[in-house]
Amino acid sequence: MDYIWQGVRDSLRIITGLDREFLSAVLVSLKVAFLSTALATLAGVPFGMWIAEKRSRGARVIMTILNTLMSLPTVVVGLMVYSFLSRRGPLGELGLLYTPAAMVIGQFILAFPIVAGLSASAVVGLDKRIRATAFSLGADTAQSFRMFLREARYGIMAAIMAGFGRVFAEVGVSMMLGGNIRGYTRNITTAIALETSKGEFAFGIALGLVLLTVALVVNILFSLFREWSR
C-alpha cells in the first residue's frame, strides 16, 4: 500500500510543479481529442440526422453497421490506418505516420460511429409530430434540419460527449499511429502505459488524475450548456 500513497503524493507534486513533460502530454491529449471530436461532430451529426430521417431498409443496415463500429477495437483501427499511412501504404506519400495528424485520423474513425449513431438515435427518439409540424409550416430542408438540431440538442450533445470520452481515453490508436514520441505524440494514455512499464507509478497516477479531472470539467461544461440552453 505504501508505494501507492507515495505515488499519489509524488503525483500531486508533479501536477502542481507543472512538469514540462507532463504538461506536454496533457496538451497533446487535449489537442488531438478535441480536433478529432470536432471533425467527427461536423461529419457525424449531419450524417446521423440524415440516416435517422431515412426509414428505408438500407438505412437500417447502415444503423446496424454504425452500432457495430461503436465497439470497434482501437488496435484494429490503429492497424488499418497504419497500413494506409505507412510509406509502403497507399497514402504513404503524405508522410503522416507518427504525427499527431495520424492520431487525429485514427481517433476520428473511433468517434464517428458513436457521434453519428447516437445522433441518429436522438433524432429518431423525437416526437413524430415535430416533423409533421415542420412540413405543414412549409419548412425547407435546411430549416427542418436546424429545427431537429434544436429539438434533439441534448441527445446530440451527449453523442458528442460520448465520442470525446472514447477518444480521450483510448490508448491503442495513439500508440500505434503516434509512436509515443516525447513532446510530440506522447499523450496522457501512452505516457501512462510507458511510465507503468518503467515502474514509475507517480507520473502515471498524476496523468490519470488529470484525465479524470478533464473528463469532469467537460461534463460540468456540458451540464452548464444544458442549463443555459433550456
Binding site: 507518427y98 509512436g179 514520441i181 510530440y184 518503467k198
Partner: protein, 270 residues
C-alpha cells in the same frame, strides 16, 4: 451565437498549426537505449547543433527494423547483429557503424529454485531452468534481446513449451517487471537491469559468458530504396554518435558510478 461559432472555428483551426513540428529526424530504436535515459543524454546536443528535432520511436530492435523496411523512419539504433547485416544486405540500410557494447545478464529470484546462481555458462543456466520448469519470462517481441534469447535456446537444443515459459510481448522494462512479479528468470541487458535494480526483487544470477555480448549499431535507411528519407540528417546523426565527443559522453553516462554502455566506434571512447 454567430460570434461564438466563429470563435470556436478559429480555435479549431489554430490547433493544427501548433501540431507542426518543424525539421525532424526520425530514429527508431530499442526500448533499452531510450528507457535507460542514454538518448536523453546524447541527443539534445545534436538537436541544438543541427537545429532539428529527433523523434525517437522506442520499440524492439525487430520492430525498429520492420518500421525502417517500410520507410517510416530515417535511421535506426539497434542491437541484433545478424539481423542488422541482413537489413543492410537486403538494401534497406547503408553505412552501419558500431556504436557501443554492453552485455546481457540473467536475473532470477533470490531463492534461486533452478540453482543457476553464480554460473558463467548461459546455456547451462537455461538448461537448468528448463529441467526444473521454473518461470522464465521472454520478451516475445522479436527484439534484439528476444533474438539473443532464441539463439541461446537454439544452442541448447531444448524445446520451450510449457506453462513455465512466458512470452510478454512487451518492452524490456515491462518484461523485467513481469518477471519480478512472477518470481521468474529473465534475460536482460545490463543497462536496463542497472536502471531498475533498486525497484526489483530479482537478483543477478548469470554473467560473463561470451555468448552474452551485446553490441549496438546505428544504420541509415537507404536513400536508394526510399527517396524520401532524410539521409543527410541521418548521416549527420551517425557522425555525431560515432564522434569522439559523443563516444566520451556514452562512456561517462553512469548510474551510481557504474557505466551502462562501453563506446565501441572506431576512433572514439576507450
Amino acid at each position: 451565437m454567430q460570434v461564438k461559432l466563429r470563435l470556436l472555428c478559429g480555435l479549431l483551426l489554430a490547433i493544427p498549426m501548433t501540431l507542426w513540428a518543424g525539421d525532424v529526424l526520425r530514429l527508431a530504436t530499442t526500448t533499452s537505449t531510450y528507457e535507460t535515459g542514454l538518448l536523453d543524454h546524447i541527443l539534445p546536443e545534436f538537436e541544438r547543433a543541427h537545429d532539428c528535432k529527433v523523434h525517437v520511436i522506442s520499440v524492439g530492435s525487430g520492430k525498429a527494423m520492420q518500421i525502417a523496411r517500410n520507410g517510416d523512419v530515417d535511421v535506426i539504433l539497434v542491437h541484433a547483429r545478424k539481423a542488422e547485416d541482413a537489413f543492410v544486405n537486403e538494401g534497406y540500410g547503408v553505412n552501419r557503424r558500431d556504436v557501443m557494447v554492453n552485455d546481457f545478464v540473467i536475473l532470477g529470484p533470490v531463492n534461486d529454485p533452478a540453482g543457476v546462481g553464480g554460473l558463467r555458462d548461459a546455456k547451462e543456466a537455461l538448461r537448468r531452468i528448463h529441467s526444473k520448469q521454473r518461470p522464465f519470462v521472454s520478451r516475445g517481441d522479436d527484439s534484439g534481446t528476444h533474438k539473443k534469447e532464441k539463439q541461446l535456446w537454439t544452442k541448447t537444443g531444448l524445446k520451450r513449451d510449457g506453462d513455465w515459459y512466458l512470452e510478454a510481448g512487451q518492452g524490456m522494462s515491462a518484461t523485467l517487471r513481469m518477471a519480478d512479479e512472477k518470481n521468474g528468470y529473465v534475460l536482460v541487458d545490463r543497462a536496463t537491469y542497472l536502471t531498475h535494480r533498486e525497484k526489483l526483487r530479482l537478483t543477478l544470477m548469470v554473467e560473463g559468458d561470451a555468448d552474452l555480448f551485446n553490441p549496438y549499431g546505428i544504420i541509415a535507411v537507404s536513400p536508394y530504396t526510399f527517396a524520401h528519407v532524410k539521409y543527410r540528417r541521418a548521416m549527420a546523426l551517425i557522425a555525431w554518435i560515432t564522434s569522439p565527443e559523443c563516444q566520451a559522453r556514452i562512456r561517462d553516462y553512469t548510474l551510481k558510478g557504474r557505466p551502462l554502455y562501453h563506446p565501441s566506434a572506431a576512433g572514439g571512447g576507450d
